[in-house]
């Protein structure tokens, strides 16, 4: 069962929205609207998410875990470093001074949070990614791209839908 890719470009978000709605409402065998469709846009655009339906974002959990780990490891690491090895006696201060360690804990809390958030971003958005089989540089200019993946049988139907909504351009993967 080989699947083929199709990429259609649209000039504005309303057209793209209409296409997505139609794809969603039409039953096409060999094409699953949730798995086989990717919408590409040149700008961050909440409306796209609205018409695609809410999808969960997990990056913030990475943030939480990273920050907690950074902060607690930071505090434990610093305190145990101070209390072991060569103790540095400072006149009038305890060996493990809490106010000073709080400052460093704070910094490490943020450090862990930021690093793990970025890691989470890469994981959640699947970057670095292989380039998709069909790509058009116009997507990074001003066009909205809809990339679909479908079996041979469904390709004609999809093309028709794309054409009906006045796609600027329809690209097709060479048949295998």
């Amino acid at each position: 069962m080989s699947k083929r890719h199709l990429l259609a470009l649209y000039g504005d978000f309303d057209q793209a929205e209409a296409v997505v709605k139609e794809l969603r409402n039409t039953k096409i065998t060999g094409f699953d609207v949730n798995d086989d469709m990717i919408v590409k846009s040149p700008i961050e655009h909440p409306e796209v998410e609205k018409f695609l339906g809410e999808k969960p974002v997990y990056v913030q959990w990475f943030t939480l875990i990273g920050a907690v780990i950074g902060g607690s490891l930071g505090f434990l690491g610093i305190s145990s470093a101070q209390a072991n090895f060569f103790m540095q006696m400072k006149g009038g201060k305890p060996i493990v001074p809490l106010p000073a360690n709080f400052v460093l804990t704070y910094e490490l809390f943020i450090l862990g949070g930021v690093y793990i958030t970025v890691l989470g971003f890469l994981i959640c958005s699947g970057l670095p990614a292989k380039r998709s089989p069909l790509y058009n540089a116009k997507v990074s200019v001003d066009n909205i791209g809809i990339l679909v993946k479908a079996e041979e049988a469904a390709v004609a139907v999809l093309k028709a839908i794309f054409a009906k909504h006045q796609a600027i351009e329809i690209q097709e993967e060479a048949g295998k």
């Binding site: 209390a83 103790m87 400072k90 006149g91 009038g92 201060k93 305890p94 493990v96």
Partner: protein, 284 residues
């Protein structure tokens, strides 16, 4: 490591060293300087140069303020109603006060300056990276930085003078901070000898270079926790308590007639050097 052990250690490291802690045992090196006896002859400073391998930086660097005198004699002019202001000269020998809660220790980024068990403020030359934060935070400004590599600088120690260097003390290269150590090399030698003989260092057994060379015996130095020592007796007689930022005697109305005081005591540095105020009218 058991949990009890861990908690014990935790309690140990949460002590406020050394003020809150067990007092120094068996040593707490301290000094007292009688300004009434000081005649400003600079013998102590010279002795310090000789003992601690201090570089003589020369006229030009002296003018730039890059001089290395660990022990300096400060002059103040008391000019009121005098025919000649010089008559009102007052001298103050100033060196590292070996504070119990030293401001320099906490700020050193690499822990090159620490508090020792015998109550000194130590300086580890090998560890120092030369951030100079300690000097910036020292209220007495008694820390000196090696602005140049003096051992290789011309005329600091000409070739034949190398034999004059004290072999017990390192020669410091450029970029490290240094300061008065209370002649730590002498203290360590005495402590080790005494330990070998199963006793503690006796009064008079160890002297600092400045103390040794003072013609008027203005400087006394010793173990502050040893009731037999002259320093202990002086501090006691002057009612100066090491662990106080304001002495009881000064809280009395009208102050106290006793001469003992410590410099900038109210900054809570708890210095280990007590000065005895000058009462004599004229310096000469």
């Amino acid at each position: 490591m058991s949990v009890t052990n861990l908690l014990d250690n935790w309690a140990e490291v949460r002590h406020f060293h050394p003020i809150d802690d067990k007092p120094h045992d068996p040593y707490k090196w301290a000094m007292s300087i009688d300004l009434d006896a000081c005649i400003g002859c600079n013998a102590c400073a010279v002795a310090c140069y000789a003992e601690n391998n201090l570089p003589v930086v020369g006229r030009e660097k002296f003018q730039h303020g890059q001089v290395m005198h660990w022990m300096r004699i400060e002059r103040y002019w008391n000019e009121d109603d005098r025919e000649f202001p010089d008559q009102g000269a007052e001298f103050l020998p100033m060196m590292c006060q070996q504070c119990e809660a030293a401001p320099c220790e906490t700020v050193c980024p690499v822990g090159a300056t620490n508090h020792t068990q015998d109550g000194l403020n130590s300086q580890i030359y090998n560890r120092c990276i030369g951030s100079r934060y300690c000097s910036a935070n020292c209220p007495y400004k008694v820390r000196y930085f090696n602005w140049y590599d003096y051992p290789t600088t011309d005329n600091v120690w000409p070739a034949e003078m190398n034999y004059q260097l004290n072999p017990d003390v390192t020669v410091r290269g450029k970029g490290v901070m240094e300061k008065c150590t209370f002649c730590v090399q002498r203290l360590r030698a005495a402590e080790v000898t005494a330990k070998g003989e199963g006793r503690i260092v006796r009064e008079g057994e160890v002297q600092t270079a400045c103390q040794q060379s003072c013609p008027t015996n203005a400087i006394s130095f010793g173990n502050l926790v040893d009731p037999e020592s002259r320093v202990y007796k002086q501090w006691k007689a002057q009612q100066v308590d090491l662990a106080k930022d304001e002495q009881e005697k000064d809280k009395q109305e009208g102050g106290s007639d006793l001469r003992g005081y410590r410099i900038l005591e109210d900054l809570r540095t708890y210095p280990s050097v007590m000065y005895l105020e000058r009462v004599r009218e004229s310096a000469v």
